[in-house]
């Protein structure tokens, strides 16, 4: 983790704005695809990526990165394993911001990230055109910025709509 230690000193960007540490986490598949479509929002900071599929981050040149075991609500042991990995990464990296597009590991990263003082962002998957995803509903109480990519879903749930990756 010498990289994170190095990041921790805080680099200064050319325009004088202090770089932040951003932890960006998404499960493999559509969630990850959408997170990658949002990179322009945070790639000028120091970013650490977490995802669930081996090789996926490298395929998108998303470095540094690490794996987190995938889990869903029915797998208590897997949830525990994922929580330990996420907590460990959060403690080592100490992000200023945690951003996720889903699914459950992302919710856990927001919840645990808040405990160490990070600001948190949830962007619900664009696939959820009718209602907020289960993960999105769970993420609500841990998200400082809680977005749906559909105006109707946002209006219904009280989420914010700011656009979509479509």
């Amino acid at each position: 983790m010498t990289y994170a230690t190095c990041q921790r000193r805080g680099a200064i960007e050319a325009d004088g704005m202090k770089k932040k540490r951003v932890l960006a986490i998404a499960s493999g598949g559509g969630h990850w695809q959408q997170l990658m479509l949002m990179r322009a929002a945070f790639q000028h900071h120091d970013v650490f990526y977490l995802t669930t599929l081996p090789g996926l981050a490298d395929q998108f040149a998303a470095t540094p990165s690490a794996l987190v075991p995938d889990c869903n609500r029915d797998e208590k042991i897997a949830i525990l394993r994922a929580a330990v990995v996420i907590a460990w990464r959060l403690i080592r990296y100490r992000p200023h911001v945690v951003i996720s597009t889903g699914a459950l590991p992302g919710v856990m990263a927001l919840a645990l990230g808040k405990m160490i003082g990070a600001r948190t962002i949830w962007v619900d998957s664009v696939a959820n055109a009718e209602e907020m995803s289960m993960s999105g509903k769970l993420a609500r109480r841990f998200a400082d910025l809680w977005l749906s990519q559909w105006p109707d879903v946002a209006a219904e749930t009280g989420a914010e709509y700011a656009g979509a990756v479509l």
Partner: protein, 156 residues
Amino acid sequence: MIFVTVGTQLAFPRLLEEMDALALEIDEPIVAQCGPVRGVWNNITAKRDMPPDEFQRNFEQARIIVSHAGIGTILSAKNMGKPLIVLPRRHEFGEHRNDHQMATARYVQDLEGVYVAWTTAELRPLLERHDLQSASNDPGPSHTALVSRLRDFIDA
């Protein structure tokens, strides 16, 4: 080649029947991933189960993609840079549990490379056009607005 996909969850006979009929009138092979349905289409190559690699290959080789207004297909067309024609599923025909694909279609009709056939009759004129743009991952106004909102929040 024209590649038709209806997703894996629901049948969409209205689209497949129309494409099967059009196959006799247009001089271009049609391959279809037809979803969970038993049907007989004589003029198109229809497959119920299509493994991901075969799906990907058909998608890549197609001149045009024709599909329901599903988000997965729209994202795939953008990723692979293909012109996409969508026919939204209608609740009144029992094609989906509500009319959300109409909302999706209204939303995506402004995207470059995405064309909406509001009825099956609108499919043929679109298929006969040879000036269809390809969809792309270049961010449109909505995408740019989202990134900008996130960036402002993160930078603050």
